[in-house]
């Protein structure tokens, strides 16, 4: 029997996910069977997929042809290093999320568990197929499968009108994006009719058509990723979905869009033009600033995370733009640096954002509350979730020694080289863009302190929170796995870069791994140690040593006495939970400083009010500037068209007659 190739193993994994999903239909109401047997099995398949791509990374591409699809266009599949990095991400993130989901779903919530199980595993399998697809047809089929299954997952709780609305918006934008992607593929075939990716690579497009293909791809994949201005579905759909699904969508599905962008711009299109990078970077910067500002002012914990995902996608687009610029000027070593930052941030974000979404799931189950204004003090009742969420929060704020910092550091390092660009003004403008990245990172810290401080710290804002319970063993295991990934990505950057370097080398022809490995496994020095270096383990060791030594010394030399008393609070007597900042109060400085960025409706109390109240509602400018006018225009056009449809058969006959006459006049031989 011939040995199984990695691509075969991955195909088996996709089939296994489908089979697990179908098995859920066998006993759709048996929650125990589905959650305690099928979901863990799905997690095992995820680990298998992750390990397979880990083993594969660094070897040559493998292809396979499936005998399904169109008559003359069977499904072409191909596993190369770029796909393998994203399969790795998918597999390992899915493992943690599935294990969490095993403990998450309860009786009587939303759809039948069997149906959920089918949709969830179909979602996983179609994401895997998106990554493996090697022709436009297979890609679009898998892409649509992914969109549809995630649409059904989002609308699991379809009894709420708000959730149906979110699902509709998501479906709409997903399809607008899909059309753009399809058009982009169409442009790349250059009329040859060959829809396989190999055929597209062989085409030499003129700069105009190549740019058209790139911009269409940016629009199409941007719609899936949540780039400005097609981001509006994201803060609606993520909170609507059950938490494991939000985690999967934010952590993994958004990355498939990044994968698509990488595939198109570096693999299928050949040589990029420098201004593509400028476009991608500008869109990315706008998205990142927008996302982080809106995430700081949210009062719903899942919306906050959704906006934070928009911010991270923006940062990824910035890295993509920088890589394109370097690549266009053939500065491959620097392009490799920013590409590594990009891939690293994909992995890091998949870990910490899934972790945080799952934590909100546990909080939601324990408290039935999504609004930050009604949470607080949960660290006392849910220590597991609280401490693991802390890891996600630190990583998400881009702070050492966890995963988010490494990618941010690599990105800033590559920005430092941008003055060397051989272009008269680009080399001035691009370094200043780094300032925006720094602002985004600092604001992300603000958002994360708000998220963590208001949910887990302080006094409980509601009586009912006293009954909150900690996450169960399955949930804990899932959270631990993702927190472990976040830590590993944070402290072992050289090992991770050696793994993902194969993808960088495939796309750019050069990588970082050789340089990185030169200085030992503990020191990350992508260029040279003189230039820049970061050793998270030493970093962690010094802080840990200072903490432990400090504690020991203080206790030895002095004492460890401690007693409890009421809080001091400058002697104020009233210390109830209402005295703490609300979610709105905490972000008041942001609303004030960045006032033009928000559309706000505020109501301030006056002294004469019988029942004074304060309210603030923050809305997205894009709704009012872009979407509502578009919707109104669509309505207006339809109203015009209605006039043609009188509903009387005589008029329709007249139309046919007129058409016939005109055709006879026009189409004379």
């Amino acid at each position: 029997m011939p040995a199984l190739l990695p691509i075969d193993v991955l195909l088996i994994a996709a089939c296994a996910w489908l089979a697990i999903g179908l098995a859920g239909l066998a006993a759709p109401r048996n929650l125990h069977f589905i959650s305690k047997i099928l979901f863990p099995l799905g997690a095992a398949v995820g680990v298998l997929a992750g390990l397979t791509s880990l083993r594969f990374l660094g070897s040559g591409a493998e292809t396979a042809v499936l005998a399904i699809g169109l008559p003359d266009l069977p499904f072409h599949l191909r596993l190369d290093n770029l796909a393998a990095v994203f399969v790795l991400l998918l597999g390992f993130a899915a493992a943690g999320i599935s294990v969490f989901a095993a403990g998450y779903f309860r009786k009587g919530e939303g759809a039948a568990p069997g149906l959920m199980c089918l949709q969830y595993h179909f979602f996983l399998a179609s994401m895997l197929l998106v990554l493996l697809a090697d022709d436009a047809y297979a890609f679009m089929v898998a892409w649509e499968g992914m969109a549809l299954s995630s649409f059904f997952l989002v609308t699991t709780d379809h009894r709420h009108a708000e959730i149906r609305r979110a699902g509709y918006l998501y479906l709409l934008i997903a399809h607008i994006g899909a059309i753009a992607i399809l058009l982009s593929f169409g442009v790349m075939t250059a009329g040859s009719g060959d829809y396989s990716f190999a055929g597209m690579r062989a085409q030499a497009l003129s700069p105009f058509w190549a740019s058209a293909a790139f911009l269409l791809a940016l629009a199409g994949f941007g719609a899936k990723a949540g780039l400005l201005p097609v981001h509006v579905w994201l803060p609606e759909a993520h909170p609507a979905a059950p938490s494991p699904v939000s985690a999967m969508m934010s952590g993994v599905m958004l990355k498939t869009a990044i994968y698509g962008l990488l595939r198109v711009s570096f693999d299928l299109l050949g040589e990029p033009l420098w201004w593509w990078g400028v476009v991608a970077m500008s869109v990315g910067l706008a998205t990142a600033v927008f996302g982080v500002l809106y995430s700081t002012v949210q009062s719903d914990m899942k919306r906050l995370l959704a906006y934070s995902s928009i911010e991270n996608i923006g940062l990824l687009a910035v890295a993509l733009g920088l890589t394109l610029i370097f690549h266009a000027y053939r500065m491959e070593a620097l392009a490799a640096l920013s590409m590594t930052a990009l891939l690293y941030h994909c992995l890091a974000h998949a870990g910490f954002k899934s972790l945080l979404f799952l934590c909100t799931g546990s909080v939601l189950h324990a408290t039935k509350e999504r609004s930050l204004g009604k949470l607080g003090g949960l660290i006392h009742r849910m220590p597991w979730v609280a401490w693991l969420a802390l890891a996600g929060v630190i990583a998400s704020a881009g702070l050492p020694p966890l995963s988010g910092f490494v990618s941010e550091w690599l990105l800033l390092q590559s920005f430092l080289f941008s003055p060397g660009l051989p272009h008269p003004w680009l080399n001035m403008v691009v370094p200043v863009a780094a300032a925006v990245v720094a602002l985004v990172a600092a604001l992300a810290g603000f958002a994360m302190v708000k998220f963590y401080g208001i949910i887990f710290l302080g006094q409980m804002r509601e009586e009912a929170l006293k009954d909150a319970h900690d996450a169960g063993p399955w949930e804990r295991a899932g959270l631990l796995w993702l927190a472990g990934l976040t830590l590993a990505l944070g402290v072992l950057p050289t090992a991770v870069i050696s793994v993902i370097d194969a993808a960088t080398r495939q796309l750019l022809g050069t990588g970082l791994a050789d340089k990185v490995r030169e200085h030992g496994w503990w020191l990350l020095a992508p260029i040279s140690p003189d230039r820049a270096s970061y050793a998270p383990l030493v970093f962690l060791a010094v802080i840990a040593a200072a903490v432990l030594l400090g504690r020991q010394l203080v206790h030895r030399l002095y004492h460890g006495r401690l007693r409890r008393s009421p809080a001091w609070d400058c002697g104020y007597v009233f210390q109830g939970p209402r005295a703490q900042d609300t979610a709105e109060g905490f972000s008041q400085p942001i609303r004030r400083i960045f006032e033009p960025m928000f559309r706000m409706e505020r109501h301030f109390p006056t002294i004469r009010d019988e029942k004074p109240y304060y309210s603030v509602k923050v809305e997205d400018h894009f709704w009012h500037w872009l979407y509502l006018p578009l919707a109104r225009a669509a309505e207006w056009v339809s109203r015009l068209i209605i006039r043609l449809q009188g509903g009387r058969i005589a008029i329709y006959l007249l139309y046919s007659f007129l058409t016939l006459i005109i055709l006879l006049l026009v189409a004379r031989p």
Partner: protein, 317 residues
């Protein structure tokens, strides 16, 4: 990593731990003189630390383990920061662990922990302090990074040791960009160290406090560690400023003679810097909290100007 390097490193950390409260004491003393008050003794911060360590910790009922853990983390972060900033010599075995960007990360980590700890007990002033600290943080951090970018572009490196070696031990060149960066850095370090005009370390009016509001609930050894960490932060910022803008006198190797020369130079530079800090604090008034964005926005502007000057005028040199 040789043994002398390691010893030199430990010596630098020990010196930081010892000198930091002294620097705070010196600034307080200068300020008292300038304000016509009778000055506290130079060693007053040590007495304070000793007293606080002796006292029992009085913990609020609602305090979680994070509250007790945070002072140690903040202290650890500041020790690390002092370990990687060259004070006496650029030959620091720990220095490759973190470059200047990571240094900003260390300060960020400490800030997050102290803000979270401030929100932990759940009092009105705690959350107020935490929110304001994060506000100052996100305004100051981009400016600080831009300063670092400017200096890094001059020396083609983000490693502090290399920056110092480039500026101090090569041909003397005047970089106009460094002047802008220096002004921006001064602004940022005032904000980051809770000094006038952004915050007042001596204030006891609750509504205007930032740093003090955050640590209201701390007592005993926790408070001592936070105070010590705060003076270490001032020391670290001063040393970073000296390393980036006045690096002369920092030894390159770990020879005993070099170190012996470097210590008095460092002490003299810190004394002058501390006195200047006191002067600036005395002649300025604390601004309202919502003027702080203007103050730090100016710093950011200066930093970006420095960067542009570097890119426009100095790239040929």
């Amino acid at each position: 990593m040789n043994i002398f390097g390691f010893l030199g490193q430990l010596f630098a950390i020990a010196l930081a731990l010892l000198l930091a409260p002294l620097l705070t004491g010196w600034v307080n003393q200068c300020r008292a003189w300038l304000q016509n008050r009778s000055a506290p003794p130079l060693l007053q911060p040590y007495y304070m630390l000793h007293k606080l360590f002796l006292k029992d910790v009085v913990l609020a009922h609602g305090a979680s383990p994070l509250f007790r853990f945070a002072p140690f983390v903040v202290f650890g972060c500041m020790v690390l920061a002092c370990a990687i900033i060259p004070t006496l010599s650029t030959d620091l075995p720990f220095a490759p662990a973190a470059d200047t960007i990571a240094l900003v990360g260390v300060f960020g980590l400490a800030r997050i922990f102290i803000s979270l700890a401030a929100m932990d007990v759940g009092t009105a002033f705690g959350t107020l302090g935490g929110r304001r600290e994060m506000l100052v943080g996100f305004l100051a951090e981009p400016a600080l990074l831009m300063v670092i970018f400017t200096t890094a572009m001059i020396s083609q490196s983000t490693s502090v040791a290399t920056i110092v070696e480039t500026l101090a031990h090569r041909d003397f060149i005047i970089y106009p960009s460094l002047a802008f960066a220096g002004i921006a850095f001064t602004f940022v370090s005032f904000a980051e160290n809770a000094r006038v005009p952004v915050d007042n370390p001596a204030t006891h009016l609750e509504l205007t406090m930032i740093h003090e509001a955050m640590i209201l609930e701390y007592s005993g050894r926790h408070l001592a560690l936070i105070e010590w960490a705060a003076s270490l932060k001032l020391y670290a910022y001063s040393c970073l400023g000296l390393a980036l803008f006045f690096p002369w006198g920092i030894a390159e190797g770990n020879s005993v003679a070099g170190l012996l020369l470097a210590i008095p130079v460092l002490v003299a530079k810190l004394a002058i810097g501390g006195a200047l800090l006191a002067v600036i604090e005395t002649i300025n008034a604390k601004v309202r909290i919502f003027r702080a964005p203007e103050f730090l926005g100016t710093a950011f502007l200066f930093a970006v100007l420095g960067l542009l000057v570097r890119l426009l005028l100095e790239t040929q040199s």
